[in-house]
Subunit: 203 residues, 2 copies
Amino acid sequence: MGVVERKLRDLEKIKLQIIEQSWLIVEEEGWQALSIRKIADAIEYSVPVIYKHFENKDAIIAYFTRQGFAMMAEQLASAVDLNKSADDNLYNIATSYWKFALEHKKCYEIMFGLGIPQCEVVNSIKEMKATSTVMLTCISKCITENNVDQIDLYLKFKTFWSILHGIITIEFLSNQKTNPEEVSPILTDAIQGFIISLKHHHN
Amino acid sequence: MGVVERKLRDLEKIKLQIIEQSWLIVEEEGWQALSIRKIADAIEYSVPVIYKHFENKDAIIAYFTRQGFAMMAEQLASAVDLNKSADDNLYNIATSYWKFALEHKKCYEIMFGLGIPQCEVVNSIKEMKATSTVMLTCISKCITENNVDQIDLYLKFKTFWSILHGIITIEFLSNQKTNPEEVSPILTDAIQGFIISLKHHHN
DNA sequence: TCCATTAGTTAACAGTGTTAGCAAAATTAA
DNA sequence: TTAATTTTGCTAACACTGTTAACTAATGGA
């Protein structure tokens, strides 16, 4: 009779509760309101229990960062349709990125929330690689489809990502409630510009 | 005999010390290390003295935010040379922006430092207007010089700023020590793309 | 039943922002 | 000069934060 198994399940249940309740707090009151004591209150356990499941508070945040990148990678990947042109796919990836950022604002916030602490974390996240791979492969196809082989793939990739991230940050700063479904004209403009500049590259 | 004046000067001196020492702490240990008690220690006064000069800690941070935008506006303005073409000026503004961000990393950090709190602050800063005006006027000239009058100035402005900010954030995340004088190829690429897309707009 | 492990607790330490209340110093008025 | 008043700066507290040591109660196996 799997007593050990049940115990492990119970432990896992507490961990899930920590994650769940943490997320509730973040959604309602923002990241800076997330505190160990508040989580302990919410899961109706004492404070040290949390440290049995997460090394420290940063580990909890890191968990959401990883999860965020995993979700994003999935969403971007599902935006790609191999029957369409690479140009179209790139545009769809961009709008998909936009949608993700707006639908998961709080998530996107820590994923890229600058400040120094996050930097090292972000660079050591394998889930982040999945995200960038989706973009990289699509841009790579764009380059071959448009016969501009001399172009620097990695440069273009970074440019693409930078543009996307920049637009979203500026959007966040001008905090009008934006509908994720309505893609910003700025995004359309910038991405079209990006694709144009791809085609106009002289081999 | 201006006793009152001297007193005011003394008060001003303390305020300057608060600013000076705060900046030292931030430069050496980062924003999250800045605490009222640490400042008090550094200026060799007790904690409540600080509250005579700043309403609270946020006000100190807001001070640096304002100052940052003022400095940036100045630096961008000085990058403009009326003898040159608007296209060239726009490129120079971009590199100037890049230089500012890298030379004043800690400053740029709070100016655009994520979190929600900053959002409202940023939107209510007149020094920020000065910054955006420099960019706006230059893009406006680009549009007339290139005879693409049908274009949406404000849209292009936002796109331009988004691209710049995005590139810098990504640069910060991949925290290799970058030389501010060496402009990133990503920046050059993106800005050239931006200008190309301006010219290729169909009236 | 006794022992060992584990789960979960309380209570503390060191730090944070902020403020009330008090003492000393400086200025003004008499 | 003395008395009253304002200013200046301090101590100490409050209510938080993350983190951990030390203890108790419960559980599982021999």
